[in-house]
């Protein structure tokens, strides 16, 4: 291995690591706020990339029907609740918000041909289609059992994951897709050729991480999320709704996931079930941070990316073994150094 190969491998590792870092942050965020170990995080990656790909192929993405179907389910639940509580005036708003908006979106997609739109508009459309899945999944699957134990929430996560993968196969088919690159520029650095898209992934990830930092530090919603993460009961006493915090964290997780998918789909082929493995590697990163620390989780995810890249050079057959074995010494080290805090209430 000479220096050039080492540099190329490092570049590859950092690119993948940047995506894992984004997912690790989303996982930490969701876990801190809602105690949900969000296994379906990776599915947003696949759904984001494949929705964009089917928009570009001129097909109506199946995600649209999923958003619509979940909107109808939520409407049914909310209307039943409103009737029960005799809040009849809320009903039109509920119907309009949960059924009307998806219908409007469907009408828009039918009216224009998405394949002819410029790329940034397509990206926005894909995000508009995928991101609502986050809060909707929260409303349907997690909000009714918000007080359940971590184990129950984990089991629900597995169920949501399996359901979404099945729907992904149904919507997008078994074969993968790629989307065209955002930029075809490439740069020479020494002997190595640096692809513009690779650089874009890293830059976008850093920008997104900085934006998240400011969201948590400077905005009232970000502070509310942090407060909920620190102490759920205390935050509720201060008037912060746990439901709102949960919904917000799921929206952010979906946004981060879908955006990561759109970022990497020009570099690699994405399949309906690719999300799981990508999410799992983000999870290893999040574990390094103890599912609590954002900077350590991000650093851990970059480490996973680098480890993966170098091990695929030295021993490609054992790559996954090496990456996932990393979790054992990390867990050992964490359980020996951290004081165990019981927070099961």
């Amino acid at each position: 291995m000479d220096l050039q190969i080492a540099l190329l491998l490092a570049q590859d590792g950092v690119t993948n690591g940047a995506i894992y870092a984004l997912l690790a942050l989303a996982l930490v965020l969701v876990f801190a706020v809602t105690r949900v170990i969000f296994i379906p995080q990776g599915e947003f990656v696949a759904f984001g990339a494949l929705t964009l790909a089917s928009l570009q192929a001129g097909k109506l993405p199946g995600t649209l029907w999923l958003v619509f179907g979940m909107g109808v389910a939520i409407t049914a639940i909310e209307v039943a609740l409103a009737l029960n509580e005799r809040h009849l005036r809320r009903i039109p708003l509920i119907v309009l918000f949960n059924c009307g908006l998806p219908l409007l979106l469907a009408g828009f997609l039918f009216a224009v041909s998405p394949a002819t739109l410029p790329l940034p508009v397509q990206v926005c459309l894909a995000l508009i289609l995928v991101v609502p899945l986050g809060p909707m999944i929260h409303r349907l699957a997690y909000q009714p059992i918000a007080e359940a134990s971590v184990l129950v929430l984990l089991i629900v996560s597995v169920a949501v994951h399996v359901t979404l993968v099945g729907l992904g196969l149904f919507f997008f088919g078994a074969e993968g897709s790629r989307t065209p690159a955002f930029t075809d520029n490439s740069f020479e650095i020494g002997d190595a050729l640096l692809q513009g898209q690779t650089l874009l992934v890293v830059v976008c990830s850093i920008v997104l991480i900085i934006a998240l930092y400011f969201f948590f530090e400077r905005t009232i919603y970000g502070k509310a999320l942090r407060a909920t993460a620190m102490n759920r009961t205390g935050a509720r006493l201060m008037g912060i709704s746990a439901t709102l915090a949960g919904r917000l964290s799921f929206t952010l997780a979906a946004l981060i996931g879908a955006f990561s998918g759109i970022l990497i789909s020009p570099i690699t082929t994405i399949y309906y079930d690719s999300g799981f493995l990508i999410g799992l590697k983000g999870f290893v990163g999040a574990i390094v941070g103890g599912l609590a620390s954002y900077p350590v989780a991000a650093a851990g995810a970059i480490l996973v990316g680098l480890l993966e890249s170098y091990s695929s050079f030295w021993a490609s057959a054992f790559k996954e073994v090496i990456v996932f074995t990393l979790i054992i010494p990390v867990l050992l080290w964490r359980s020996l150094t951290t004081r165990r805090i019981e927070e099961e209430d």
Partner: protein, 385 residues
């Protein structure tokens, strides 16, 4: 109590009546991988069963299609269910080699013939008491690997690097290819693995490039096999790239795009059916399948994997009509035994993938006509003459 007893009796009666009605028809049990990692192979197979004849020699034929989710345990469970509950006369399946291997024991124990749609030669070799009940329709990996090695020796390729799936498919190809290449004096100088869902193969590709091979063979199936090829081109590799017949579907061309120009692969003749010379007997059968499939699922939707299911249907309708002529009743052990013998005795049956000439020792029965070399040119498959 009385009502319950009457109900139970009534249920039992209808069950018997229902069962005897079913017995008069031929039941074909199918277990394939329509979901999970092998879905891109299993879905066209599943679509093909809807196109197979439902009446053979005036006898109604039922196809009971189950999905095994590319999972070995489910494949075994499906087989048991088909035999015990549906009383099938023959089993078709599964899509992939590990599942098919696991199904052999159950089919043989129930003395039910089984036709696999998976490539692995181990499904029918070495021939023994159990495998006497087992047949298969896809070409053996060895047959396809020989075609690649032949093409390599004819084109002065001396050193080859291999990169394949880290699963049974990639391992199987590595075993066959490295064996045949050694005999033909081709040096294999790198052996790498990658996963179906990998987002990057940069490490493996850099290692292959540093070995400077004349050609690279990619042992993968479907669109995932495009990733190493795209990485090789991106890093400026100029040599020849070979793929396996696992990539022979339209999605591969769509995902790989211009990076696949000039790629060579062995495939069943159905892939380039229209380009076959008119003298080739396979052309007519293959074109019939292609037109039937595309009429149902749209132009360009056909893949070679579905054709394996079509060939299984061909074998079956030929054998079933022979057995029916003997006046045997479907659903009986005698029927299954005769069906097995009829399958084994198949001679000169033309399928979409080749000509079947089965024997007691060879339960596939393909010859050289069952494979052609294909080149990707202008985003389409071109027959290499």
């Amino acid at each position: 109590m009385k009502i319950q007893a009457v109900l139970a009796g009534w249920c039992a009666l209808t069950a018997i009546a229902g069962a005897s009605a079913v017995y008069a028809e031929v039941n074909i049990g199918v277990s394939l991988s329509a979901t999970g990692p092998a879905a891109s192979l299993g879905i066209p197979e599943k679509n093909t069963f809807a196109l197979l004849p439902t009446i053979i020699d005036g006898q109604k034929v039922n196809y009971i299609v189950l999905d095994d989710a590319s999972d070995t345990t489910t494949a075994v469970k499906n087989t048991k269910k088909l035999i015990a509950e549906n009383k099938v006369d023959v089993i078709v399946g599964s899509t992939i080699t590990p599942n098919s291997l696991a199904m052999i024991d159950i089919a043989a124990e129930a003395e039910t013939p089984m036709i696999s749609m998976a490539a692995g030669a181990r499904i029918i070799e070495p021939m023994d008491v159990k495998r006497a009940w087992v047949f298969k329709t896809p070409q053996n990996d060895a047959q396809m690997a020989t075609a690649i090695v032949e093409h390599m020796t004819n084109n002065n390729v001396n050193t080859v690097a291999y990169i394949g799936f880290a699963d049974a498919y990639g391992e199987g190809w590595w075993n066959e290819f490295s064996k045949i290449a050694e005999v033909r004096k081709i040096k294999v100088i790198a052996n790498e693995r990658f996963n179906r869902a990998d987002t990057s193969v940069t490490g493996q590709i850099l290692k292959i490039l540093s070995a400077k091979p004349d050609a690279v063979l990619i042992g993968g199936s479907g669109t995932p096999a495009a990733l190493p090829q795209k990485s090789l081109k991106e890093k400026g590799y100029k040599g020849t790239i070979y793929q396996t017949h696992g990539v022979a579907n339209a999605d591969f061309l769509r995902v790989c795009g211009k990076d696949c120009e000039g790629t060579l692969l062995p495939a069943g003749p159905v892939l380039v059916a229209a380009q076959l010379p008119d003298s080739n007997p396979i052309k007519k059968v293959a074109l019939e399948y292609v037109s039937k499939y595309e009429a149902a699922h749209g132009k360009g939707s056909v893949s070679t994997f579905g054709a394996h299911a079509w060939d299984a249907g061909k074998l079956l309708s030929n054998a079933i009509s022979q057995v029916l002529k003997k006046g045997l009743q479907p659903g009986t052990a005698e029927f299954r035994k005769a069906l097995r013998a009829a399958l084994e005795g198949t001679q000169n049956l033309i399928g979409a993938h080749g000509v079947f000439n089965l024997s007691a020792q060879d339960h596939l029965g393909f010859d050289q006509r069952a494979r052609v070399m294909v080149k990707i040119e202008g985003g389409d498959w071109k027959l290499v003459k």
